[in-house]
Structures are given as C-alpha cells and as structure tokens.
C-alpha cells in the first residue's frame, strides 16, 4: 500500500493523523459496489464519497508559505510492502455481514487470528536477517498496529507466550 500524509497532517497538532491510503485490488471493483461495502465500515474511517468516478483525488504535496514550517520536510509519503501486493475485498460477503457481527469479531480479535495481517507481517520484518528491518522501527510499527486492533484491552500472558 502507498500512504501519503494529507496537507494538514501535523500542522495544527501532532496527536492526530490525516492521510490518504492507496491500495491495489486483486480485481476491478465498481464504485457502486465499493459504496455498498463502505456502508458496512466505520464512516469515520471509510468515506464512501471517494468512490465516485469524477471525485478528485488530490496528490500534490502542500506548499508552506513564508513563516510556515513543513512538519515533514523529508518525506510525507511511502510504500509499505504487504504480504499480498493486492487486496482481496470480499465485497458481497462484507455487504451482507451486519455491523453487530463485525463489532463482535473485532472484540474477539487475537494475535493468532489470520486477519491481523499487519501485525504478523510487521513482526516478520523484525531482526537483522535477510529482508529484516532491524528492531526499533518494526517494534514501534507492530505496537501501533496491535493497539489499533485491540485498543486498551489487556494482553493476556497466553498470547504473549
């Protein structure tokens, strides 16, 4: 996936993130289908308005005038390589799944669940082996990914072990 921070990211406060996350799909999907799929997602995260054929997707980096400091002078975008280069959206299945079912599955998520792809993939890059990314960055990313999945839930020793 390719991420690109929004123009306002980090300008007014650094406790929030605003970004455009681009994904490649394993098959073409129509805007109407994506809108239906988005209805089953958290509206605060997946805005169905972007699934429109003529909706502009602004891609240019912002300009900072005199006296304004770019909070990301080096880079405000990047490519994150995932286990799968393309996302498989099971749009029909997701459209039929209720919000309650999705919420329930979220609450029972654990580290061994195959759906926690981000966490597992990040941990796989931990270390100085071939393809490894060292220790600090993967650990920080893995923690962020985990926290985003389970929030403040206490991690059991069984899962750690």
């Amino acid at each position: 996936m390719f991420w690109q921070l929004s123009g306002s990211a980090g300008v007014f406060d650094d406790g929030h993130v605003s970004a455009h996350l681009y994904y490649w799909l394993d098959k073409p999907i129509a805007n109407d289908v994506l809108k239906q799929w988005a209805k089953g997602c958290d509206r605060r995260l997946v805005d169905p308005a972007v699934f429109n054929a003529v909706q502009p997707h602004y891609t240019a980096a912002p300009l900072f005038g005199e006296g304004c400091v770019d909070p990301f002078p080096d880079s405000r975008s990047g490519l994150i390589k995932k286990a799968n280069a393309a996302v498989c959206l099971e749009v029909r299945q997701l459209a039929a799944e209720s919000k309650q079912a999705r919420a329930a599955s979220h609450n029972t998520l654990d580290l061994n669940d195959d759906r926690v792809g981000g966490f597992s993939n990040i941990l796989a890059t931990l270390g100085d082996h071939d393809g490894g990314s060292g220790f600090n960055e993967p650990l920080l990313r893995a923690v962020a990914s985990y926290v985003s999945k389970v929030g403040g839930k206490k991690l059991s020793s069984r899962k750690i072990g």
Binding site: M1, F2, W3, S6, A9, D14, G15, H16, V17, S18, A19, H20, L21, Y22, W24, D26, K27, P28, I29, A30, N31, D32, L34, C41, D42, R44, L45, V46, D47, V50, F51, N52, A53, V54, Q55, P56, H57, Y58, T59, A60, A61, P71, G78, L79, I80, A85, A86, V87, C88, E90, V116, G118, F119, E137, L140, A144, Y146, V147, S148, K149
Partner: protein, 107 residues
C-alpha cells in the same frame, strides 16, 4: 477550481507502479487523479468538464467520464486520534500503521 480540465491517461499495473505515479504527482499542484475513464467519443486533447457521462449530453466534453470498475482504492483518513504519547511528526510510520490497523481486516 476551473470548469474545464486537461486530461492525461496513465496506465499502471500494480501498487509499485501506482506508488511511483503518485510520488511523481506530489510535485505537480496542477494535477489530480480520478477513478473515471474517458468515453471513446471524447477528444482527449480538448479541455473538458469533470462530469459523468450522460446519454443526452450536448457535447462529449460536457459529460466525458464513464463510471468504470477500477483496481485501486483510496481510503481517506481524516484527523484520526492517535494513542496518547504517539506523535505523527515523531512517529510518522507508526501513526500510519496505527491507521491501517483500524481499517477493515482486508487492508
């Protein structure tokens, strides 16, 4: 925003080529991308409106874009609160990873 736009088609195959294109476009404030596809009867060299195709259009350039299936999506994360102690300036990649982790499991 202008009423008429110039048009350019760029073919990409896969996330890496798409990422290269998006990185290139970061340097050009006059361009953006859309999901639509130009209808066959529209002259790509003529400035056109950013409107969906209509059968009853007066001129092809007035409603030139077809609503087609595409192989990419953009998820717009807007002011997502980070966990206490995390800074988007200091922990940029972790902040992005946090946002990704909140998306539906497919992502």
């Amino acid at each position: 925003m202008p009423a008429y736009f110039s048009y350019e088609y760029r073919a990409v195959d896969g996330i890496e080529e798409f990422a290269s294109l998006l990185t290139e476009l970061e340097q050009d404030r006059s361009r953006f991308i859309i999901r639509g596809q130009l209808a066959d009867d529209v002259d790509a060299e003529t400035p056109m409106r950013r409107r969906l195709y209509r059968n009853d259009r007066s001129e092809p350039i007035e409603s030139p874009f077809l609503d087609v299936s595409t192989t990419w999506v953009m998820i717009d994360i807007d002011k997502l609160a980070l966990p206490r102690g995390m800074s988007v300036r200091e922990d940029t990649l972790a902040s992005v990873e946090y946002a990704i982790g909140i998306l539906p499991a497919e992502f």
